[in-house]
Symmetry: C2
Subunit: 529 residues, 2 copies
């Protein structure tokens, strides 16, 4: 067990770009490990490597059954012919399929060490999709027991060990499994068996499962999601904190004549043309692929599928570095209505998502629909303004609605006012951030937010409450209200009356004559006693 | 001028998959024509061809200036070394840049015919981004004059001729230009100069411009959009009825070290890794591209950009064939907030979009946000139910809210009711389609619609009005209301009282015991006198 095998380079939401150090090299995360059969490889490992995969996953249990002790002599790298990083699963899948395997966790632990696995997995007992709680409890218990036996049995110091988390549909059991397993000295954790959840499009449950696991393991241990390497789910899962994926989907789909696209899978006979620019799709015509022999067709489709998956993963890494992960998750969520529901669920974890979201991004944030108002950047800024902003004492408060789509400081209205304003507090209504004091307008992301005019986050009551606090703290003698909506204006009028503050009303809509509008406001101020 | 040069194979919204017949071959549309310089080609035409482009655009005016009459002898195909389809622009761009050119439209018409252009463009007078209405009017007038002179001058019968539409920011002028130009015998039309509109992200104006042109030209003439080949705008423009694009962006971006992605452009130094699976990005490392000589870097970036554009275009064609164009436009619109606003504007043209949208699709439609409720399929079905559905006379109306997310006919509740129900009308509330009579549930797309549970299109007043009509026409003796919301229930109660119909109330929420719920409803019915 190595210490400090994982380094985080950048984060966004709960997603992170990291680096996993193994005895066979380093792996940039998030990463997808294609699943390869240890003996009958349908896709040449050199092809997989050429596509850019530095790590693969194979099955130690099948290796043991087929090659026996010979495997220990040859080593898994030589057996599958791959000099990169090899993660081995240890028969859990076979347990799920056949109910039982004829080896012990301790035996599988030693065997994985002997064959030189870089990342080894406890022989766990997957919960699968069972709706039987007693069974689920049993699998969690047995998985923990196997984890302990594995920790006991292992001998090498350079294998990374994965502690599996089970519980399936029962998220309280997933949480319990994560808590108990993570007390053991594992290097990584892996969440079991979302495959069936995904197959049936239960993405909302996937969100719950991942959060139950993620919030109960240490942040410095990468989280692997078993069997979940799919273009639709990876962005969501990464945003929730998953670092590693494995998937056999590329080959399973290929065997079923299915072609991965960025927004889902298409049957080969539904495709009109090969839209993908990968080497397979640019060097072959659709018809060539259709009429090729079964084995060759599988090879072509699987290779394309791998190119597509690799491309998706790189886009996710780029999105984290650009601070755009939210945008990519939301964009992808428009691939299936159930994925959109899952994205809506993700937006409810604002507090947790905020932890990984940088305070400053080099790029403006883009908002589209009401879901985006729950972006950590927005929620954080709104909360911070409410909590930390305390106005200086001034004579006059000028509170105004933006008169055009320009950046507030660039508007002729504000430029003119700022020339003269000294003892005045300028406060403007932003559809997204509610009330922004002019002196904070350049603070990220207040002026670095792009949104459609349809998006509006201005509930009158909340606005009024916040305005009230500022007005009370600022101790103003008069308020000049410019182009406020009538509800807010009425509320401010009542407040001003109660506090015995003079309220001057002024409205001149439209983008024309902004400078004149400013002059008029200045006259209004100067004319006041 | 050929007749019937354009065939439409499939449509969705105003978008269409078509085929344009030219003397140098057929072109599948929507298509993008890369712009190539007639003399100094930075990207080898064989590369462009290999990427799958069957047509390119080049500049006849520059050809005339640089090669003079020699060009007529050699022919444009030999000059640029391309045996595919060549469209020639004729100096309009130079007019826009320099105000004037020293040839007449008639001269340019004959020259384009002489050099063997397959698709030739009138030497027009582009409006550009001018805010001067008098100038815009002038350009429209001069463009029409040039169009007439071109029609007069042309001699060959096998050149396809493009009638340009100008007007720029003034959509009424665009409409007028489209109307007047389309009275002339052109084969195609082209809308001028959206480039600057796009550069400044004025996508909302682009929607208006295209609609002004599209609704004023005959449907059987393809519409070309000058200089608008960009991954972000093409889906939107295709949905609005554009069939052809040309673009020099692939090379202009490359010269500026910019890399196209499906969601926008990135500067080369902002990229962390090459996420694209195209041959350039899989055969080169990012660093190789970064450190290569300027000319080579331009070649690599431009080639990647072309692969990306071709891929995007093929995805659009596939989306039309799959009946998913709306979904792709909406998904892409999440690349920039201003594009989202433009998408929202597009949704207001439901009536026009409906014309091209097939009555039946092999695939379910996917809805996500309120904008999607304006999909032609949804609007059409809601209108059709309201207009064309007339209930048979029955004794009892059972009106119910869906008790689970299953397909309505598959729910135990409905299965049980349908066993016994004969003289009863079953009517259920669908969050999307409002009121659906059970006998119509299998009509497309009523049961072929997937949507998140957050989406709801059930305004109580509208529901009540529609229920009222059905109740009055059905002449029921009694109504059994199952799990209706209390507002609707109260309205129905008032209505039932007025019409002297017995209203039985029944509510049992949750998915459990649906069959029991059905039994109870049946008992309620049988117990009634």
């Amino acid at each position: 067990m190595s210490k400090g095998c994982f380094e985080v380079k950048a984060t966004d939401l709960l997603g992170r770009v990291g680096r996993l150090y193994t005895k066979s090299g380093t792996l940039d995360t998030p990463a997808l490990l294609p699943v390869v059969h240890p003996i009958n490889q349908e896709i040449d490992l050199n092809t997989i490597k050429k596509i850019g995969f530095k790590a693969v996953m194979t099955n130690a249990y099948i290796t043991l059954k087929r090659l026996g002790e010979e495997a220990s002599k040859r080593g898994i790298h030589s057996i599958i012919g791959f000099d990169g990083i090899i993660m081995t699963d240890s028969g859990g899948y076979q347990v799920l399929e056949y109910g039982e395997v004829d080896v012990t966790p301790a035996k599988m632990a030693l065997f994985q060490e002997e064959i030189g696995s870089d990342i080894a997995v406890v022989l766990d007992r997957p919960t699968g999709f069972s709706r039987n709680r007693a069974f689920a409890e049993q699998t969690v218990k047995e998985t923990l027991k196997a984890a302990k036996e594995t920790i006991e049995a292992r001998k090498r110091g350079d294998t990374l060990w994965v502690g599996p988390i089970q519980g399936g549909l029962f998220t309280d059991l997933v949480a319990e499994s994560a808590r108990s397993t993570s007390t053991l000295p594992f290097d990584l954790h892996a969440l079991g068996s979302p495959t069936e959840v995904m197959k049936s499009y239960h993405y909302r449950h996937l969100v719950k499962m991942i959060m139950a696991a993620k919030t109960n393991i240490p942040l410095n241990r990468p989280l692997h999601l078993f069997g979940a390497g799919h273009p639709l789910t990876m962005p969501l899962a990464v945003a929730l904190g998953c670092d590693l994926f494995d998937s056999a989907s590329y080959i399973l789909y290929a065997k079923d004549d299915r072609y991965l696209t960025p927004t889902g899978t298409l049957k080969l006979d539904e495709i009109a043309e090969l839209a993908c620019p990968c080497p397979i799709c640019t060097q072959h015509t659709l018809n060539e692929i259709r009429v090729s022999e079964k084995a060759e067709r599988i090879r072509l489709l699987a290779t394309h599928n791998l190119y597509l998956l690799q491309s998706e993963l790189k886009q996710i890494r780029q999105a984290i570095l650009d601070g755009r992960l939210w945008e990519i998750v939301a964009l992808k969520a428009r691939s299936h209505p159930r994925l959109w529901s899952a994205f809506q669920d993700l937006t409810k974890y604002t507090k947790l998502l905020e932890d990984g979201t940088p305070l400053y991004k080099r790029r403006a944030i883009y908002l589209y629909t009401k879901e985006d108002l729950r972006r950590p950047e927005v929620q954080r800024a709104v909360a911070k303004l409410r909590r930390d902003y305390h106005p200086k004492k001034k004579h006059t408060l000028i509170i105004f609605t933006l008169l055009s789509e320009e950046r507030v400081l660039a508007t002729p209205f504000c430029r003119r006012l700022l020339e003269e304003v000294e003892d005045h507090q300028l406060l403007y209504l932003s559809p997204i951030y509610r009330l922004i004091p002019m002196e904070l307008t350049e603070i990220y992301p207040l002026s670095q937010t792009l949104y459609p005019s349809s998006l509006n986050n201005l509930p009158t009551q909340t606005l009024h409450n916040e305005a009230k606090r500022i007005i009370e703290e600022g101790g103003y003698k008069q308020i000049v209200a410019v182009c406020l909506n009538k509800h807010l204006h009425a509320k401010l009028a009542t407040l001003a009356k109660r506090l015995n503050i003079k309220l001057l009303d002024y409205c001149r809509r439209g983008s024309k004559g902004q400078k004149e509008a400013a002059e008029e406001v200045l006259r209004t101020i100067h004319a006041a006693p």
